[in-house]
Amino acid sequence: MTYSTKNINVEPVRLLLIDDEKDFVNILSKRIKRRNIDVAKAFSGAEAIQMLRHQEFDVAVLDLKMEDMDGIEVLKMLKIMSPRLAVIMLTGHGSAEAAEQGLKLGAFDYLAKPCVLQELLDKIMEAYAFRRQSD
């Protein structure tokens, strides 16, 4: 276990998971929660936007490929609503173009999906640290 958030962070990271694959969001949130991160689940772009209206998040993990809305559109909305939100994009293979576009729109970084949990966690911590720094 290289992960150390449990001990260092008093205030858990507030994470928003956005993916329309419910089972995936559920299990991922369970596993992330276990690592002392505060996870909220959104099963669609619309839901994510609604949640963002009532709650503040440090980091969002956004699947770029969803049924109802294009991930890029969601990203644009998120950035408008919460400019300081660090967004990590999950991209399928062969959509590097979209990822690059996302980076231009202000996303923090992207990961190819499916990704190893540890990588995602590292990326989340990185994004969180980045957000803290920019405060």
Partner: protein
Amino acid sequence: MTKDNHLTDHYLRSLNRNIILIIIIVSVIPLILVSGTIYYQFRASYHEKVYDHLRELVQSHSQNIDSYLQEKLSDIRFLTDSCGREKLTDESFLQERLAVLQKDFGKDFVDLGVINAHGEQIAYAGPFKLGKADYSGSEWFRKSIQSEYFISDVFLGLRGVPHFIIAVRNNRGGISWILRATIDFVAFTSLVENIRLGQTGFAFILNNKGKLQTTPMARPSMDMIDSKNIYEEFVTKQQISRGKICIATRSDSSRHKNIYVAASIKNGDWLLVYQQRIADAFADLRKTFIITTALMFMGLLGIIIMAFTLSKTIVERVAKADLEKQMMSKKVVESGRLASVGELASGVAHEINNPIAIMVEESGWIGDLMEEEEFEKSENRAEIERAVEKIQYHGNRCKEITSKLLSFARKTDTTVHDVNIKELLEELVALSSQRAKYGMVEIETDFQQNLPSLRASTSEFQQVFFNLINNAIDAMHHDGGTLTISSRQRENYLVISVSDTGEGIPEANLDRIFDPFFTTKPVGKGTGLGLSICYGIIEKMGGKLEVESTVGKGTTFLISLPFQPDSDRQQ
């Protein structure tokens, strides 16, 4: 494979043999028939010609001899008839007559003698002092006293010199007397001696006892003439008769085959025989035979050489054509089919991606939970942890496959810039060298200098060549080999070939090697996506990826890429 080669070898060998046999049979039989017939005909007519010539020769000479004898006989008869006994018994008159005869006929007449009915010589003219010799006991006298005239065989007589006698009996006035003339043997022999042909042809005369009447002056000694047998041959076997010419062939004592031509002369008393060795008589024929045979053998040799070279050429062509046919079964992939398969594959991969991710995460969750204290004492804890690990491992394998599938179908996502082909290839070779060394594979490179740069994506390019190089090394994993990479500029195209000396791809598989998921590697060792990804990338760059393979010899992948890619395709 070896069985195939064996069969092919066997087939080619029998083809070779058949061609040679057919050519030889078809050309040799007419050659032999034609030459044989011509030679046979020529030989027959030449024999005929030689025989005719000899027959004519013997005939004319036999006539000559006959007329010579006749002439001598007439001279003597004339002498007896015209002069009468009284005059002729006068030795001086006789001497005179002899002189006249010798003047007219040269030395043919040696002497003249008159013999009374009792065999006593009563007058003589000639060089020998025979005087009153008594001939009553000699055979010629007994014969000549019984007939009107008589020509004797050659004998030594009283004087011990070979000669023969012409005797004419005269009965005029009731008293029988004989005028006898001796004919010079040498003069007579020269008549026969004149008959000479070639190197061994000569003539001689035999009497009715088979005794030689002339001395052949030619080389062959007397005993070379098998006179007794020759006489028997003509007289007893062939029943030679007057005016008839007979021909016989037989071996003489020195085992040479001789041709004998005989004519009967002197009313059948004597036999004029002409003898010549067959080899000599037919020397021209022999020469012709040798020339013909030599020509025929040269012809045969020519045919045989031609048969061998021709058949070799044909068989080589056939073998080459077979090989080419095998090579030609290279893959020409229908890009449409491949594209649709690729799309389907990437769609499937995408759909599968999420479930796999969920499964992996769920198993990860189990792993997380196993860390709880309540399970610490569970006896199956180790088993569960192992199972979780396996799920993770195989989940990751699935992810690898799907990610490859997706990269196969993905749109251009890497930036295109000028690529230095030579540098890039050298870099790739350097990267692969370790793996090649491990597989006992030698890498040979042949890069054209000063290749123009190509607009392409470096990572895609790398992907293609890594795949091809790895495949090549895998193909030679049994006992190593040589991997040859070459790059060339061919008009507006960059042509890169990657050749291995591995086991080759069977024809049946050649059609499918670019299909996604087609692999001959054991389950779990290969995804079957490498080549289809390469194919996709090269197609997208506006190029062509082709394969040529011969089982047992190796495989060559040929990539041709345009230096100026169609910009529409790049989008």
